[in-house]
Every structure is written in structure tokens, then in C-alpha cells.
Symmetry: C2
Subunit: 321 residues, 2 copies
């Protein structure tokens, strides 16, 4: 019996979903998640875009009224730096929402790396729609390309190891699916999407349940009773090797090791003996990745993938006719 943590995969993405084989356990509900369909991803993007257009356009684009409604333009979105191109569903949805006559041609595939001054998208259509959509489209593209580029940097820092780079719930509010998509596009692995699709037992839950064994037993009952068919895993967070020993004795098959130093991590890996999937979290920087990976843990989760953002630099250039 094997279960998988599948990242958000979409038909047109140039990446291979990362799969982790998880040990069997009575604490794990073995539903294999279906990756979101292209249709559901597009629907999510349309939802995000509608909100962004609403806040930008409000009662209407006053400046666009300086342009004739019959003007047609070509435009190019140009990368001004190297990075991973990401955000196509959101860019497409932006122009599609503004004017269905706008033609959007992608010259760089989603998830591919571009170089400075490379034309990434070519657009053709009514000038007003192109001008009104420019900023919203670029805001999605620069954000998601920034997340994907950072994820790529982190993934490259552990090339050669078998460790997975994993995101967290420390995301920009309202942009979780978009950011988790960007992480997956660059080969990162999505942790739980939210509170609904996995159980992560932390200190307070352990205290409330009366101990590690009791908390895991309760979680098993919750998992068995769950009827949503979206539960991916049960994970327990431990802060000490004693807690890890208790969790392993209780049959935990996925453990989060919180803020342990390297020596303790190596001991945790030895103690585990391949039984549970071990994840490191807390204070992880790109500089520390190689030494963390070398301890033999399976996953490293990093809040900074999604909570700290540096937008990738793009501009849009027009030729109005």
C-alpha cells in the first residue's frame, strides 16, 4: 500500500510532479489524490483575476478613455531578468476577462527559464483591453515567477540528494493556490493546502490530547471518520528525540522535526531507521540546505518560499496602431 503526495500538476506545465513514497501505517489514510484538473486550475485563476481586476478597475479605467475604442495594438511582455516563467493561467484569464478578442501567444513555456530581454508573451487585440489588463497581468506574472524562481534556487541547492523542498501555509492571504502552484511548477512539493486536507499535530494538540500516543490515536480516528476524500496525511511535530521515539513507537509515519540542530537531526535519522518520513522545518535558509539534506531527512519545508517574495522584473511594450 503506497500513498502519494502529489503536487499541483497541470497538463501544460513543463515539470514532473514530485512523488514521495510513504511508509505504510495505520495512521495513514491511503487515498491517492488526483491532481487538480486544468479546468479547476483555470477556474481558480479566473476567480483570483476577477478580484484583482475589481480592485484595479473599480468604476472603470479613466485613462483608457484617451484611446479610441476601435484601436488595435500589439504588445509584448518582456522579461527584464533571468528566471522561471510562471503564471500563464492568470495572465490568460486577465485578458480573456477584459476582451475575448485579445489573442495571447506564449513564447516561453510555463515553468521554463527565460533570459533577460526575452519576449515571453505576444499579445494582439483591442488596445484598451491590453492597456487596462497590463498591470494586473504583470502583477500575477511577476509574483508567481518570483515564487517559482526562488523555488528553483532552493531545489537546485539540494540536487543530488533525495530531499524534497516543501512549502508551508505561510502564504500571501488569498493567493495560496496560486503560490502553491508556482512552487510545484519549479519542482517544489506542496505540503497540505490548508487545514482541511491533512492533519498536523502540534504541541498544543499533544498537550490537549494528553500525550504523543493519545494524540496520534485520536488523529487516526479523525482520519478514519473523514468523508471528504481529501485527507493526504497525518503528521506529528516533535521538538525532542524523546518525543520522536514516542511518535515512532506509536506508529507515526510522518514526523516534523522542529528547529533541531544538525547533530540532533542525524540522531533522529538514525533512530528513525527509515520508518517515517522525516521533515525539517524552522529557520531554513538556502545556505543551510545542503547540510540539512546531508543529515538524511526526507523533506525540508520553508516558509520563505511563499511568505517572502521578490517580484521578477517584467515589462509590457506596446505598438498601438
Amino acid at each position: 500500500m503506497h500513498s502519494r503526495i502529489t503536487c499541483l500538476s497541470v497538463a501544460f506545465c513543463a515539470y514532473t510532479p514530485t512523488v514521495i513514497n510513504m511508509p505504510d501505517s495505520t495512521y495513514f489514510k491511503p487515498a491517492t489524490l488526483a491532481a487538480p484538473s486544468l479546468a479547476s486550475l483555470s477556474a481558480g485563476a479566473r476567480h483570483d483575476v476577477a478580484r484583482a481586476l475589481e480592485e484595479d478597475l473599480g468604476t472603470g479605467d479613466l485613462t483608457a478613455s484617451l484611446i479610441s475604442p476601435t484601436s488595435v495594438a500589439t504588445a509584448h511582455i518582456v522579461a527584464r531578468e533571468a528566471g522561471v516563467v510562471c503564471g500563464r493561467p492568470w495572465v490568460d484569464a486577465t485578458f480573456s476577462a477584459l476582451n475575448s478578442d485579445i489573442d495571447v501567444q506564449w513564447l516561453v513555456a510555463e515553468g521554463e527559464t527565460c533570459h533577460p530581454d526575452q519576449v515571453v508573451v505576444r499579445l494582439l487585440g483591442p488596445a484598451r483591453g491590453l492597456l487596462s489588463g497590463e498591470r494586473v497581468a504583470l502583477n500575477f506574472l511577476q509574483l508567481l515567477s518570483g515564487v517559482a524562481s526562488k523555488t528553483q534556487t532552493y531545489c537546485q541547492a539540494v540536487v543530488g540528494s533525495h530531499v524534497a523542498i516543501v512549502d508551508t501555509r505561510k502564504t500571501l492571504p488569498g493567493l495560496r493556490m496560486a503560490q502553491k502552484y508556482a512552487v510545484a511548477v519549479s519542482g517544489g512539493v506542496n505540503h497540505r493546502i490548508g487545514l482541511f486536507d491533512a492533519i498536523l499535530i502540534k504541541e498544543n494538540h499533544i498537550a490537549a490530547a494528553g500525550g504523543v500516543r493519545e494524540a496520534l490515536a485520536q488523529a487516526q480516528l479523525v482520519a478514519q471518520a473523514d468523508t471528504t476524500d481529501t485527507l493526504k496525511f497525518v503528521q506529528i511535530e516533535v521538538e525532542t528525540l524523546d518525543q520522536l521515539a514516542l511518535a515512532l513507537q506509536a506508529g507515526a509515519n510522518m514526523v516534523l522535526l522542529d528547529n533541531m540542530d544538525l547533530a540532533t537531526l542525524r540522531q533522529a535519522v538514525d533512530m528513525n531507521g527509515g520508518r517515517a518520513v522525516l521533515e525539517v522545518s524552522g529557520g531554513v535558509t538556502v545556505e543551510r540546505l545542503a547540510e540539512l539534506a546531508a543529515t538524511g531527512v526526507n523533506r525540508i519545508s520553508i516558509g520563505g518560499l511563499t511568505k517572502d517574495v521578490r517580484a521578477m522584473d517584467y515589462s509590457m511594450r506596446f505598438q498601438v496602431t
Copy 2:
């Protein structure tokens, strides 16, 4: 006749709205904007929070079911680094949406600076609601405090000059009002909120209208015809001193100087002679602020205030009883 660009002010914010006196002009519609009321800010925050809770909670918090529904807890949100505290309406709205019995006490005022390990918020109420709301509340608080802290750094770099630090529309999609609020909390000035509340004439609009004079004349007609009562200003972007001369001759009272070097900026200020409000944009870093301010321009707008984000570090600590 004087008009004002008023930042988003709210009753409980510990900051003074920044006001710029603008020269008179036929191109400027002199409506003084009312600052958003506390009620409208709270409504916006509730809207943002509903979306963030939806994406995090989905079908429900599976792990919270390990905690008794009758458990009560106290919790503290602690700053783990120094910075500007910002995000109170969103944190309040998060816990209020989850359980109206949760009491949220702020120990640091909105917009005030905190020190590492300082307790910023004390919470008391049903443990499940506190645990389910923790991440969403912290995601808003860490993001908005990050924006406010960065804005403070930029504002402090121009202390002693009269230059205003101004935001842009390069924001995180769906979070524009929240981010512009955070900029204003730290003494930054909000540029237009979106395409609906000001006219910014750029290269393509000038080309389509047939020149600087024609574009400004058309914009005046649009401004006069606008019935929304939200139009704040008409601004024109120029790339050369020749274009600036044309704009000033045509009566422009607000000009965006795009990517000019320091010598050209000084010439622009001389040529302007105090007639129009001059704004610098393009490639502005905190290191360049002092020299840009010294040219005598009135405003410096910075995309990086809102498009690049470093979350401020907070944690939430619980005592479940």
C-alpha cells in the same frame, strides 16, 4: 484652491496622514477625498479575511477536532524581530469570523514600532477558534507589518527633505487596499488606488492622442465628465526634458519623470520652477533615496514597497486550559 492627496486614514491609526499641496490647474479636479471610514476599512478587511479563511479552512480544520470544543485558551502573538506593527483590522476580523467569543487585546498600537520578543496581542477564548485562526491572522500581520516596516525605512531615508514616499499599483493581486493601508500607516503616500481614481497619461496614451498637449486636453475633458467623485489627479509621464517643457506649457500640474538620471532631474526641477508636482519613478532603491530627494523633486514612487515583500517574523504561543 487647494487639493489634497490623502492617504488611507483610520481612526485608530497612530499616524498623521501625509498631505501634499498641489498647484492650481485647469487639469486638476479639486475634489478633496474623504478618508475611508473605519467602517469601510473593516468591511474591506472582513472581505479579505473571508477569502483567506476559505482557502485555509476549506471543508474544516481536521486537526482542531483533536481539541475539545469546550476548551478555552489564552494565546499571545509575539514579535520575533523589531518592526512596525500593522494589520489590526485583519487580525481582528479573522478571530471575529471564527468565534465571536474570542477576545483580542492589542498591546501595541497600529503603526507603532515593537521590539523583539514583545507581546503584541493577547487573545482569550475558545481554543479551537484560536488554533484555526492562527495562521491566517499571522499571514496578514506578517505581510502588512513587513510592508509598513519597509515603508518606514524608506521614509526615514528622506527625513529632513520634503519629499513624499509614494506607492504604486505594483501590488500583490487581491491585496491592494491592505498593502496601501500598510504604506499609509508608516507615513507613505498612496498614489492612485487603481485605474478608476486618477488619470496617468503614459507614452501610449500620448501617442494615441497625437501629442502631449492633445493628451492633456483630452484628459481634462475626461476629468470634467467624470461623475464618480473619486478622481484625485491627472498626471502625465514624460521621459525627456522636451516632453516636460511641452507638458508644463500645456498646464500639467503633476508630472511623472520616468527613469531620469540625477543631472536631468535637477534640470527638470529648475525648468519646473515650482509649477507642477514632480514625481520620480523607476529603479529606485533605498540607497538612492537621499540623492533623489536632494534634486528637489516632490515625490518618489517605489514599486518595491508592495511588490517585494519580506514578512515580519511573529509567532503565536498558546496556553490551553
